[in-house]
Amino acid sequence: MESKILNDFSFHKPTTLDEALILIDKYQQNGLLMEGGSEVIPNMKSLVVTPDHIISLKHIPEFEYLRYTPGEGLNIGPSTTLTKIEYNPDVQRVYPSLYTGIHGMSNTAIHNISTVTGNICYAVPSADTAAPLLTLEAVLSVRSVDGERKVPIGELFAGVRRTTLKKNEIVTDIFVPEPPKGAVMAYYKNPCRRALDLAIAGVATYAVMDGEVCREARIAMSAVAVVPKRAPEAEAMLNGKVLTEDLINQAAVHASLHECSPISDIRASGEYRRELVRLSVRDGLMLALNNQGRNELK
């Protein structure tokens, strides 16, 4: 008999960042920050998490913004909903892999309340914004009563539903640098069915071409290791090299065999996940080879 009953908790609705910082500092041992709640509430119902305090971040006006600065990048406020991000024309044009990652998540109703911050801080291995943000080398601004620091996204994930953030820290901004012109970006979610599904093997690719040469390649994977991660060895095989189909295949094979460790579960076998990594890395980089998926359209 599965529970659908939440445990009892005190509910807090701070309206400023300072209020929120004080609250999470006070209740850091048995409290939970909640953005949209679409992960937290079902998990509370099945007693996966049982906080005594919930601090809702939905009511802080300064947390809601989305700012694109041409030539610099995108600043995402922590309470900005997925809907506002995915339907923003600058996001669609400049960050197509982030758009695809967000768009394939759950459904419209969940997007209307969920956030990117929530997605990455909840840190499930299959988080769909993780791989695109890893390839885009996003940087988080993090605050606590003790001060402020920056956390590159590559240093965020620590384990299944664990991050390197301290218990009293709040993400106050996600900065996504603008990719150079000519960067080719893609995200492959590889779900079992076309909607309402988790990634079986999420793969994001990012390649900057200089004529025939791949000046820089970035590959990130989710759902195939304990944390979302890059594939630095496969990337090194490509950086600075003339891009060919053969080289792409080699890199794809390498990433799938040596840079991920997928498990077998009710959704898919580990072997199938590896194969999907290979196919998606290949497909994403082939876009660059074929000059498709440019991030700027006339």
Binding site: P96, A109, A186
Partner: protein, 189 residues
């Protein structure tokens, strides 16, 4: 923990004393009697509990009632005005988009939200935006027909009303349309 909260539902204010654990769907159904809002999976995976929050579709089973204070909530019961059905309700009738009816209130509310943000969706866009609403009876075919009819009626109504056409909700710049997306690995239907 009990908290006092006022919910604004279908145009009226309802002051309530609620356990903080109460989800919006339970507040609406059991505390306020809006049983048109349905509960099916109770974890945000099926859309049956969809209501409008400030014009946006929200899964009321994964939303705490205490969070909903200060927002404009609309349920299926609040859609018809002065006994006149909303064009979406009318279209669902005319196009046989209803069978058992359990998904219907959520489906209709999600449709109203869609057409508010994107008054002229294609079939692909409808299927995409409404993907979170599951139906086991209809196979979705006649629901698409109904939404196509509803959008035409509403476009005519807006045209008739002149420049008073409703603006998309703040922040949805592209009106639920995906423009200029580079090919990114989504499989076609």
């Amino acid at each position: 923990m009990i908290q006092l909260v006022t919910l604004h539902v279908n145009g009226d204010d309802y002051p309530l004393a609620l356990d903080t654990r109460t989800t919006l769907v339970d507040a609406l159904r059991d505390h306020l009697g809006f049983r048109g809002v349905k509960k099916s999976c109770d974890e945000g995976e099926c859309g049956a509990c969809t209501v409008l929050l400030d014009g946006n579709a929200v899964a009321s089973c994964t939303y705490l009632a205490v969070e909903a204070e200060g927002h404009d909530i609309v349920t299926i019961e609040g859609l018809a005005k002065d006994g006149v059905l909303h064009p979406v309700q009318r279209a669902f009738i005319d196009c046989f988009a209803v069978q058992c009816g359990f998904c219907t209130p959520g489906m209709i509310m999600a449709t109203v939200a869609l057409l508010h943000h994107n008054p002229d969706p294609t079939e692909e866009e409808i299927r995409d935006v409404l993907r979170g609403n599951i139906c086991r009876c209809t196979g979705y075919t006649k629901i698409i027909d109904a939404i196509m009819q509803a959008k035409e009626v509403m476009k005519k109504q807006s045209a008739g009303e002149g420049a008073e056409a409703s603006a998309p909700a703040a922040g949805n710049d592209t009106g639920y349309k995906a423009q200029n997306i580079a090919q990114c690995g989504s499989s076609e239907s």
